[in-house]
């Protein structure tokens, strides 16, 4: 960010007298605003798409009243959520009750900062990108637990406890399944990971096709991440038919809205991470985006990235409307007896592969065979 500010100061002469830190701060605010607008738009449109997809899958129409074909439904929903009365139960712990949605929202939203949208489109290319995502998304569990506890409702408490156990358990396989991408790139930065999948191999440059273990770890990651973000079939914390909605049952108005937005934010983060770490990120197949003029390169790579990420989101929605829900003991068994050992073995496999074949993937070896 500072480097960008420096180049901006050099490029725009009137800024020369302004202290560098003000420019940096200004840039940060602008970046945050852009990301926020993107996240909110995605979450709004995402909720509409979710309902339309649900309608399609379930042999019905879905929202069709607000605007042409119902495309403005998300605005109506948003306005409704903001205008609704904000009810705090009489026996709730008021401070924690108010605090909880922010934890959840911040946890989900802060992860957007390191999402590599395009070749130069990233709010902060942290050198610990993946680590940062794992860290900030852990905030969600605190918020969920607080919400469950502060509501003073037994169903909410059960939901909160389930969520805490689930998210903490599944963080391990999620992290372990992402490490192969880190190993291949040799960096924790998401931009480096995406760049490592570029080159002229096209889609075979993706980590997904690097070797059998990375192929496997993509599915491990996707499964575990579904669980970590409480998506069906792992939506136990908000199991509607059991816990009546779980930890957010006592929330109304915009406080509920924040939980809701965070859920979609998480959905996008999972899609974005799997795109960046396994599906080549913003790389355009058989083409170096870096060689294009800045604006076109970024637009093209942004388009590629969003296409892939949205395809993943659609798959998540499809899964959500197809599968039933696991039971809590089955969920824990799946994490500790299957996913955790599998991800460890998988990680070992990737490491050995990289050691034995000196970092080369199968497509790379085939390509070098043919010169």
């Amino acid at each position: 960010m500072e480097a960008l500010a420096l180049s901006l100061v050099h490029a725009v002469p009137p800024l020369a007298g302004v202290p560098l830190w003000t420019v940096t701060l200004l840039l940060m605010v602008v970046a945050a605003a852009v990301i926020l607008v993107f996240a909110l738009t995605f979450e709004g449109v995402g909720s509409l798409v979710l309902r339309k997809v649900a309608g399609d899958i379930q042999a019905r129409i879905g929202p069709n009243r607000v605007g042409p074909n119902g495309i403005l439904q998300f605005l109506a929903d948003g306005v409704k959520l903001v205008l609704k009365e904000d009810i705090i139960p009489a026996n709730a712990d008021r401070l924690l009750f108010k605090l909880a949605p922010y934890f959840v929202f911040v946890g989900s939203f802060a992860a957007f900062v390191v999402v590599p949208f395009g070749v130069g489109l990233i709010a902060a290319d942290l050198n610990i990108g993946i680590y940062y995502v794992m860290a900030v998304t852990s905030l969600v569990v605190i918020g969920v637990l607080l919400a469950g506890w502060a509501s003073n409702n037994k169903w909410a408490l059960l939901g909160g406890m389930r969520a805490a156990a689930q998210i903490v358990s599944y963080e391990i396989p999620v992290g372990m399944a992402l490490i192969p991408a880190v190993l291949i790139a040799g960096s924790l930065s998401l931009q480096d990971i995406v760049r490592s999948q570029g080159g002229l191999l096209g889609i075979f440059g993706w980590n997904l096709f690097h070797n059998p273990f990375t192929f496997f770890s993509f599915f491990l990651y996707f499964t575990a991440a579904q669980a970590e973000t409480n998506q069906t079939p792992f939506d136990l914390p908000e199991a509607e038919s059991e816990l009546v909605s779980g930890y957010n049952v006592e929330y109304s108005g915009i406080r509920f809205g924040l939980f809701f937005l965070a859920e979609f934010g998480d959905m996008f983060i999972v899609a974005a991470l799997s795109t960046a770490c396994f599906l080549g990120g913003w790389n355009v197949p058989f083409f170096h985006v870096g060689t294009l003029p800045w604006i076109w390169g970024n637009l093209l790579s942004l388009g590629v990235f969003l296409t892939k990420a949205f395809a993943m989101v659609l798959i998540m929605m499809w899964v959500r409307w197809t599968l039933p829900r696991l039971r809590v003991d089955q969920l824990m068994r799946m994490a500790w007896k299957y996913l955790v050992p599998l991800t460890f073995v998988n990680l070992l496999g990737v490491s050995l592969w990289l050691l034995v074949f000196r970092g080369k993937g199968i497509p790379g070896m085939i390509a070098s065979l043919f010169g």
Partner: protein, 376 residues
């Protein structure tokens, strides 16, 4: 050196599940005592929907009681209508024209299909898969269309009459019924492919709340819940009434195909398979339905002879038995209705002990209870 012997003190939690809860299928209240997620006791508390249907029966005439039977089990109103008609006919020894009996069998079996569709759909929704529910509703809609064609109503039909049915099938009804059957039969395989044998679904149901055959008999379970435990008891076969003996169908029983005999999955599968058998019965009935009148001559001011009668018939949720005492006046002297769901609730506490909260939902769904039938 001292060692801590007292563990962290814990306490059981009492939770009210219902009367407003999405998965109790109505206003059932279950008082759960849980140790974390494990249920130590689940006590069903019924009675939130009591409308004194039996007492009302003593104040209205035999014909006037027919619409009340719609409210006995609103998802299988046809079966309840016919049960009432059959009871009164048995009491008064009325001969019913054969065409009327065929029509009754057709509507009863169609209603069994639509009722089992709701059972299947809401069960999958309880298990977290919402989509099959809407598929079930889609098919049920076609049954409702058929019934609307027949009697004008889509939920509370009031179709049967003492001595027959309210009206003959309109032209095209039988063809439409056949069309529906052709459309519906492949859908059952679709359900099986989509959800019945889904691994998660099977894992949720198999070996959960196993009811051995002896227990099922001892607690008086009937209908699919009894057959799910492997007892091949079906009143349509074992105590035949109406024209059922003329049809070829088999009694579906649980086989323990994915777990233990008598678990939730068996009870679920019995319903799925029964839909197929119902399709078979309706096909035969539609093919063989005779011409003729659809209503016997019953005096307007109908007074059955003095006496008492008990008639039971196979409703989708088990045996509906109606006990009726007549003092020779225009209204019944005493009416008692025995319903499948109410009796089923007696075993609820026993089978839910030690299960998880999510399993309680699975058990309620596998019993396919309906609250108006429990509370009457």
């Amino acid at each position: 050196m001292t060692t801590r012997t007292d563990a962290l003190p814990t306490q059981e939690m009492t939770i009210n599940m219902g009367p407003q809860h999405p998965s109790t299928h109505g206003v059932l209240r279950v008082i759960l005592t849980t140790d974390g997620e494990v249920v130590t006791r689940a006590l069903p508390d019924v009675g939130y929907l009591h409308r004194a249907l039996e007492k009302i029966g003593e104040r209205v005439t035999y014909a006037q009681y027919m619409p009340f039977t719609d409210r006995l089990d609103y998802l299988a109103a046809m079966n309840c209508n016919c049960a009432w008609a059959w009871t009164v006919e048995k009491l008064a020894k009325i001969e019913v024209p054969e065409r009327a009996e065929y029509l009754r069998v057709i509507v009863c079996e169609l209603n069994r299909i639509s009722s089992h569709l709701i059972a299947f759909g809401s069960y999958t929704a309880d298990m977290g898969a919402f989509t099959p529910f809407l598929y079930a509703i889609r098919e049920r809609e076609r049954v409702n269309d058929l019934f609307e064609m027949l009697c004008g109503n889509r939920l509370t039909y009031n179709y049967a009459r003492v001595g027959g049915v309210s009206g003959d099938a309109p032209p095209g009804f039988l063809e439409k019924t056949k069309e529906f059957l052709d459309y519906f039969e492949p859908k059952i395989d679709e359900y099986n492919n989509l959800i019945s044998y889904n691994k998660i679904f099977v894992h949720r149901l198999a070996n959960v709340a196993v009811i051995p055959a002896e227990d099922a008999v001892a607690y008086g379970l009937t209908g699919p819940n009894l057959r799910g435990s492997g007892v091949p008891f079906d009143l349509r076969k074992d105590e035949p009434y109406s024209v059922y003996p003329k049809f070829d169908f088999k009694v579906c029983v649980g086989t323990g195909e994915r777990g233990t005999l008598g678990d939730c999955f068996d009870r679920y599968m019995v319903r799925i398979n029964e839909m197929r058998e119902s399709v078979k019965i309706v096909r035969q009935a539609v093919a063989r339905i005779p011409d003729g009148p659809v209503r016997a001559k019953v005096p307007r001011l109908f007074k059955p002879p003095v006496g008492e009668v008990y008639f039971r018939s196979e409703c989708p949720r088990g045996e509906t038995g109606i006990y009726l005492i007549s003092d020779g006046s225009v209204n019944p002297f005493r009416l008692k209705i025995r319903t499948g769901s109410f009796v089923t609730m007696s075993i609820f506490e026993k089978v839910t002990r030690g299960l998880m909260i999510a399993d309680v939902v699975a058990v309620i769904g596998s019993f396919d209870i309906i609250l108006p039938e429990i509370d009457r």
